[in-house]
Amino acid sequence: MRMMTFAKRNVKEILRDPLNLLFGLGFPLVIIFLLTAIQANVPVALFEIKHLTPGITVFGLSFMTLFSATIIAKDRGSSLLQRLYTTPMNSVDFIMGYTVPIIPIAVCQCIICYVAAIILGLKVTIGILYAVLFIIPVCLLYVVLGLLCGSLFTDKQVGGICGALLTNLSAWLSGIWFDLNLVGGVFKKISYALPFVHAVDMERAVLAEDFAGAAEHLWWVLGYSIVLLTLAVMAFLRQMKRQ
């Protein structure tokens, strides 16, 4: 009950901020429409709706990192967390309460992107349903990244690190906007050593119902999620002790 109450509060705080809705939902939709319009005039295989949509759904999750990190950092900066630390709430309640509520928001974001993609001509297949399901582990990756950043940085720093740095990293190193093979070399190696491109490749494979192709990337996503979750929990507990 404690965790659910806290999670509910976090959902309300996130969804009541119009900027969150604008960036979390509006921005990915604008990109889908814009790139589809470009593709209609100048055909580029990468921007075909079946390739573009999985990438955008993953890119949209970088805003979930921002939401998650911002709310944690803001709470740390105020006395609210201090008050809650004097209640029977334990560390599991806090960590789950910050991570769990973002997942349904992310799934909704993903569904809305696919609805927009269907309107723009994406063929309706069972692959869409799988793509929405497989977004959950990717979402976990981005949310724990938010938990980590929110536990380490102030709300102002979070704006810069998650709002600018992470969204750019997630965009450039994911193969959404350009084929990484075109750049190749170290850039490609770095990209494939990070989880973002694996998340996009996994979503593209799942949408195409190529589960064998998705499996390899899924392990990358889950591996990074577990490592980041461990670090995030350690960072959160450390700041909890400090407060």
Binding site: R2, R9, S78, L80, Q82, R83, T86
Partner: protein, 242 residues
């Protein structure tokens, strides 16, 4: 009957001894004030008693429960209204109270009644649907105290409850604190001498982590050989009083 027994409580932060071997007993239903200049150790004492920070020495017993060994039990009987207003800014007044109901696991069917009671007690009905972040400082303090009362605590810590409030808001909050007096044990820190004198059953004055005196306002004035409580405080802090 004693509500709080503090035994040789100490807190050291690296080279700074924030609280030095504090010994105190506070009775049930008492309104007890901690006074001192900045860095006296008041907030650190409250943080230790409310299980926010672990003592480096000694222990304290809140209704018989040790803050060192039974902090999970202590947390069930205390509530804290921190120095800065601790509210969820994006939630309404009612939702903030419901949040605390959930945190203390007040049964669903009783939450509505509990929230209504508290809003009535604190006079929050007129702002119940306003977002906490949009309220004035005075209203936020009221809400902060209401949130602390949700759990029906046996011991309530008020850390600088009227800091930064205007005269009217402060006087209204005094009235509120008076209504709670006797019903629960209240430990309050304040910088305002008048506030401590007007509200407290007993007052402790601290300096550099040590307890200098602990008595009623009248007896403190007598000890400091002055009729003015503020002067008595200055005399004691400066070591003029014998």
């Amino acid at each position: 009957m004693e509500a709080i027994r503090i035994e040789n409580l100490s807190k050291r932060y690296k080279d700074v001894l924030a609280v030095d071997n504090l010994n105190l007993t506070i009775e049930q239903g008492e309104l007890f004030s901690l006074l001192g200049v900045n860095g006296a150790g008041k907030t650190t004492t409250i943080k230790m008693l409310s299980c926010l920070t672990r003592p480096t020495g000694g222990d304290a017993f809140l209704n018989g429960k040790s803050i060192c060994k039974e902090s999970h039990l202590v947390k069930k009987i205390i509530a804290v209204s921190p120095q800065e207003t601790a509210v969820a800014p994006g939630l309404t007044v009612r939702e903030n109270l419901e949040l605390m109901c959930g945190v203390y696991e007040v049964p669903k069917d009783k939450q509505k009644e509990e929230v209504a009671k508290l809003m009535h007690l604190l006079g929050l009905e007129s702002v119940s649907h306003r977002k906490a972040g949009k309220l004035s400082g005075g209203w936020q303090r009221r809400l902060s105290i209401a949130m602390a009362l949700v759990s029906r605590p046996e011991i309530l810590f008020l850390d600088e409850p009227t800091l930064g409030l205007d005269v009217l808001a402060r006087s209204e909050l005094w009235e509120l604190i008076r209504t709670l007096k006797g019903k629960i044990t209240i430990i309050m820190t304040t910088h305002y001498m008048q506030e401590a004198q007007a509200l407290s059953d007993r007052i402790a004055i601290m300096k550099e982590g040590r307890l200098l005196i602990c008595d009623t306002a009248e007896n403190i004035k007598k000890s400091a050989r002055t009729d003015d409580f503020e002067q008595a405080f200055i005399n004691i802090i400066k070591g003029v009083a014998k």
